[in-house]
Symmetry: C2
Amino acid sequence: MEAAEFRRRGKEMVDLIADYLENIEQRPVYPDVEPGYLRSLIPEEAPEEPDTYEDVVKDIERVIMPGAASPACTELETVMMDWLGKMLKLPEDFIAGTHGQGGGVIQGTASEATLVALLAARSRAVRMILASDPQRPETGITSKLVAYSSDQAHCSVERAGMIAGVRMKKIPTEQSDKYAVQGETLRRMIQEDKAAGLIPFYFCATLGTTPSCAFDHITELGPICNAEKIWMHIDAAYAGSSFICPEFRPLLNGIEFADSFNFNPHKWLLVNFDCSTMWVRKRSDLIGAFKMDPLYLKHDHQESGRYFYTDNSLFRSLKMWFVFRMYGLKGLQDYIRKHVELAKEFESLVRADQRFEISADVVLGLVCFRLKGSNEVNETLLKRINNGRKIHLVPCQLSGQFVLRFAVCARTTESRHIREAWRLITQLAEEVMQELPH
Amino acid sequence: MEAAEFRRRGKEMVDLIADYLENIEQRPVYPDVEPGYLRSLIPEEAPEEPDTYEDVVKDIERVIMPGAASPACTELETVMMDWLGKMLKLPEDFIAGTHGQGGGVIQGTASEATLVALLAARSRAVRMILASDPQRPETGITSKLVAYSSDQAHCSVERAGMIAGVRMKKIPTEQSDKYAVQGETLRRMIQEDKAAGLIPFYFCATLGTTPSCAFDHITELGPICNAEKIWMHIDAAYAGSSFICPEFRPLLNGIEFADSFNFNPHKWLLVNFDCSTMWVRKRSDLIGAFKMDPLYLKHDHQESGRYFYTDNSLFRSLKMWFVFRMYGLKGLQDYIRKHVELAKEFESLVRADQRFEISADVVLGLVCFRLKGSNEVNETLLKRINNGRKIHLVPCQLSGQFVLRFAVCARTTESRHIREAWRLITQLAEEVMQELPH
């Protein structure tokens, strides 16, 4: 939405809220709907083409208000997660529908999703072991559990291990493998750990790592996890949004082996922070890990099995509903493709300049690059760039090299910004190279 | 703010946002400020009387924009937590100031705060034990840890124990003690557990329990925890807001023994969801428990020790800043007092009716009451009340009795609503009593 339309629509929305507040006493304090009421009121899939703003706003009264804050928020969340799941062509197992065992739930961040999946996995592992050995003390089991993730995984994966109180081992990756975890490496670590008496139970795969946007080989890794009864969680925090485009969807192949999957629409799908979408194959795995049952949380539809989260959803789904309808699937795909094209444009500029090198494949909107030469010269270049406060780059380490990361991520970025950024970077690079021995 | 003013101010705010978006390219992409820049730009305490809306909005450009999203959000959070801490007259140890060791951080919910405190306590306990016995395996320590909370505590306390993978024992309470945890009971449980080889490390006290708004005796419990090196966390999710009034502040006496303290301004202090404020005596206890240090999160002011949270704060503090200034301390105190008076008004109505009884002391805005008679008759009454959808009550169990809870919590509640609610309840009670043998 451009600024002029935002002014008009924003003011209409202010009036809508004020009207609601002025007439609130006319409304019932508690909704009178049956579980599942909302699903039948809206389409089963996101629209291909944009809806009109008027239609979206009209639906607030028609669809949301009868269900008030709750259960409308939970129901809309379930259906929006189905919409998005279908946009991503997730396996049927992850779609809630009216009778599915799986489904989606919104978290605040990918870090939360990683932790929630880890806790569900821990609970499942303990349950499975107790089923065959009921006398074994639970703490004795936990102390033997071991989880895995790439050495390229986000630091929040390691922190999830700290919080859950379980071992988290980093799987080494190689530049020659494009920093992806290989099946053979995971298999070897599992065998060694089992031989040492440990219990492998969780593997967090990353699709689109933070340092270089690397993709773990989940088609290889998934079957290993399935055979070993290891929970495979897929963290695609950044890259996940791209999977709505058919040309990028192959990056998600292997999802059929996963127990849970997560990415952040607040990162690259135009939904404001926070909105991190997580799907599980079996909702009962999450319910089992966190269920609490005090009288003050009881409700009439407790046993319908429809509501599987009581804590997470306070209308983050409304943001998804608005965005999906205002853009339509095609509009969202265009948005992703434009960013990837802009990144490719930047990559071409880097490749055309002999002083620079590309440090990792450019798959989506991230370009890892550096000046050929020492880490020192690149660190100095980065400092100059960021001190200018015109553009801002965040670095990474790849195989001991200090690397600059150029990420296309703002809604309004155009080709002219890319060219201007490159002009600035090369100008500062020249200065730095003149000052430092190269 | 009344609806008419909200219409005007809301529309001004829409224009402010649109202006920002239209001119965003003129702004630097990264702020140019030193750590602590914000503190000197605003007063050290919340105003007694309301500020004007114009002044508040002007300060966005003057105070926030120079620090952009970050560090402005973190700095404003620290200062707002100091403002609120001073409103509550927290011990100096919990105020960050410019040189304090403690301070506040905003969480999403009290459940999160309970968990964060528990994890920090676990980490501190493990560290202390390893310091005296470095060879002891960490998982062996965790399996011996034991935490405590009231049997009246919110279910999220028990869930925090599940997540952290530690024993959580419920301390029994009695009606004759007004459902408060007694020092003697805690002391006995600690001695028994230590004798059995366990390691007591965490006690979650509740000020204002969910069922009946009971207050644990922290002046008794605190010294016991301190002597045993047990982390005392205080969960005052609902009641905490009232402590800004001098007449309710004695309920917080004993805070001087606590390691951490939390309540929800989103519950009763007019700040929109979510905003759960948590203070710790030693910031280093939190940092130590969660610290991660990857290159992509490094920044120039890493070692200044000022920023102790990188994950939690995305402008929830702005809501606090606006609310504290638009109401002033006096306005907020008036708001709390009005709700307590309305609850007392409801209590008088109940007490004046011989068919009903009050089930717990009315201290703040919650009235626990029931028809004299069976649980069945009260369950039926509750169903009738809630089916009418004019008011909504949530029940609890107290000493085996099914009890109705009347909670004054909406911003716009007036005496006429209380009287109307009581008229409705008594009318339905009559119907129920005629139908069921009493």
